[in-house]
Each structure stands twice: as structure tokens, then as C-alpha cells.
């Protein structure tokens, strides 16, 4: 009898494995529904400030790497484009955030004309704007799409990369981080 019980335990290994996997899937699915689990999310690593070149967009104050290094207060770097719909919807949040922290925009694969037109229609949340015409700076920053934001501390230390449109929650996290 004891032998049978022991064998039953061995033979229930497939069941246990399957149930374990099933529970894992269930947790994933329920987190997927609440939004706290996204299998498509890319966990980009922390990077030190990369070398990059940006171009000026005519009426707006511009910036470059050195200026970012020289800052004494935190900055949010936001990649955007006028041709991207999520960027448009993100503008409201950015305008809200711009009261708390300076936001510098990098127009990704854009031309000056389109940017000017974009800001004739929308409020400008950016203190400074520069453009990355070829998308090279984007690659240096580890960009996977637009809009994406980076929180940069003084001396150009990047402490977070948000690879999606900013949400209310992100705004809170950012304001908490900078105190």
C-alpha cells in the first residue's frame, strides 16, 4: 500500500508541473488585465548619458549634450513627433508636468516646419526643443519608439527611462523622485 502511495506521488509530478504552469499563466493574465504585466514591454537598461548630436529648430531655444551636463536641476527629456498620435495625446500630461519640472523635447525624425505647425495647434510644454532628423540620437539613447521620456538628474545622470507615453502615475513618480 505504501508503495502505491509513493508511486502516486511520483506519477503526480506531471500534474504538479502543469498546475504550476497554469497558475503562472493565471497570474500573468490577471496582471495583464490590470496592466502591471506586459510581455511586450522592453526593460531598457540604465545608461549613462550617451554622445549625441541634435539640430536646432528655428524659433525655439535649443540644447545639446553639454548643456544637459551643465544643468543643476533635474530635466525630463521627451522624444516626440508630430506624426505620432500617442504623442499628441501625451501633450496634456506633459503640460501638466511642465509646471513641476523642466521638459526638453527632442523631435524625432522631423523637420522644423512640421514642428512649428504642431505647436501652432498645441500648447508647447517644452522649455527647449531640438531635433534628431535622422534618428541617430534616438538609437544612442536606446529609443524604441516615440513618445518616450527620460528623467535626467544634474550632471547628466539618467535615472529612468519610460518607454511609453507618460501617465498620471508616471507624473507622480517623477515628482516624488525629484522631491
Amino acid at each position: 500500500m505504501k508503495d502505491i502511495a509513493r508511486r502516486r506521488l511520483i506519477f503526480s509530478l506531471p500534474l504538479i508541473t502543469t498546475l504550476g504552469a497554469g497558475t503562472g499563466f493565471y497570474v500573468m493574465l490577471s496582471r495583464l488585465r490590470t496592466g502591471s504585466f506586459d510581455p511586450k514591454e522592453i526593460k531598457t537598461p540604465q545608461i549613462s548619458l550617451p554622445y549625441f548630436n541634435l539640430e536646432r529648430v528655428s524659433p525655439f531655444p535649443s540644447f545639446n549634450r553639454n548643456e544637459l551636463l551643465r544643468q543643476t536641476k533635474p530635466i525630463v527629456i521627451n522624444f516626440f513627433a508630430s506624426w505620432c498620435v500617442p504623442c499628441l495625446t501625451e501633450m496634456a500630461i506633459l503640460n501638466q508636468l511642465s509646471h513641476k519640472i523642466d521638459i526638453w523635447g527632442i523631435a524625432y525624425k522631423e523637420n522644423s516646419h512640421a514642428i512649428n505647425e504642431f505647436f501652432s495647434r498645441n500648447d508647447n510644454p517644452y522649455k527647449r526643443i531640438a531635433q534628431d532628423t535622422k534618428g541617430d540620437a534616438g538609437i544612442q539613447w536606446g529609443l524604441t519608439g516615440v513618445p518616450e521620456s527620460f528623467l535626467v538628474l544634474p550632471k547628466g545622470i539618467i535615472i529612468s527611462h519610460i518607454p511609453k507615453p507618460l501617465s498620471e502615475r508616471d507624473v507622480e513618480t517623477i515628482s516624488n523622485t525629484i522631491g
Binding site: 522592453i42 505620432c84 534618428g135 519608439g145 518616450e148
Partner: protein, 154 residues
């Protein structure tokens, strides 16, 4: 963020729009050896905006930029590993289709050996059973069996 690439990477029902990889000869390097190396590196890098394509296969703009970057670096004389490291530094291990061996992926890399030898051990248990079942027999029983075996068939 990825909605942006929605139109370039529509993930439809069965299969998506994997169209061309390198879709213009301008992208290719003139030196066939370098181009071959570029293709090898590119086929180990995952397109970040698409679902499960390499940057060589993908037609997404970012994949195109990355392809170009790989080729630029090759022409500049970088080694394959250096280019790989450059990519991983920016995009993390997610970009590598061949996961690196570390603590977190050790199970993944050991699975082939584990399951193969696990199977062999299981099978050996099966084989041993047989030797046991004849050894346990008494001499008389063994003799009876040999008699039965050697009995001419009707």
C-alpha cells in the same frame, strides 16, 4: 509608443506583414564578406518594435536604422562582439535573440542536458527492472523457464 509603429508592424490574424528584410540594395554593403557578417549579426538582433522578428527580417523604420548602424560599425572596423555589446548596452538583453548565459538563464541553457539525461536515467530504471525480475527467481523456476523456452512448438 508602439502604436506609432502600428502601421509598419501590423500584427494581424495568422501572420503579420513580414515583407522584405533589406528592401533596398543601397542598404547592403559593397564588400560581400562584411555584408555576410552584417547579416549574421542582424539575424541575432531582435527588432524592438515588432513582435518576434530579427532586424534583418523586419521592415520597421527602427529596424532599418539599426541595420544601418550595424553596417556603419562594421565598416568602421568594429568586431562582431563589440557591436553586440553596443546594442545590449542600449537595449538590454531583450535585443539578443540568443540569450546570454547567466544566473537567470541557466535553467534555459541547462534544459537540453537535464531533460536528456533525466530521460536516460528514467529509462535505466526501466531496464534494471528486467534484470531484477529474472534474478529474483529461484533455481527451480529458472529451470522451468528454460524448459518452457526450449519446448518444441506444436
Amino acid at each position: 509608443m508602439r502604436t506609432l509603429y502600428f502601421f509598419s508592424c501590423l500584427c494581424f490574424l495568422f501572420f503579420s506583414f513580414k515583407t522584405y528584410a533589406v528592401d533596398s540594395p543601397e542598404e547592403m554593403l559593397a564588400n560581400p564578406q562584411l555584408e555576410k557578417r552584417a547579416e549574421t549579426i542582424g539575424s541575432q538582433l531582435r527588432c524592438l518594435v515588432c513582435q518576434n522578428e530579427t532586424i534583418e527580417e523586419s521592415s520597421a523604420p527602427l529596424a532599418k536604422d539599426l541595420r544601418q548602424k550595424v553596417r556603419e560599425k562594421l565598416v568602421a572596423g568594429d568586431s562582431d562582439e563589440k557591436i553586440m555589446q553596443w546594442m545590449v548596452k542600449r537595449y538590454g538583453n531583450f535585443v539578443r535573440l540568443n540569450p546570454p548565459f547567466n544566473l537567470y538563464t541557466s535553467l534555459l541553457w541547462f534544459i537540453p542536458i537535464l531533460s536528456f539525461f533525466g530521460g536516460i536515467i528514467l529509462a535505466f530504471g526501466h531496464i534494471r527492472k528486467k534484470t531484477n525480475c529474472t534474478e529474483n527467481l529461484s533455481a527451480e523456476e529458472k529451470k522451468h523457464i528454460t524448459e518452457l523456452l526450449h519446448e518444441p512448438r506444436p
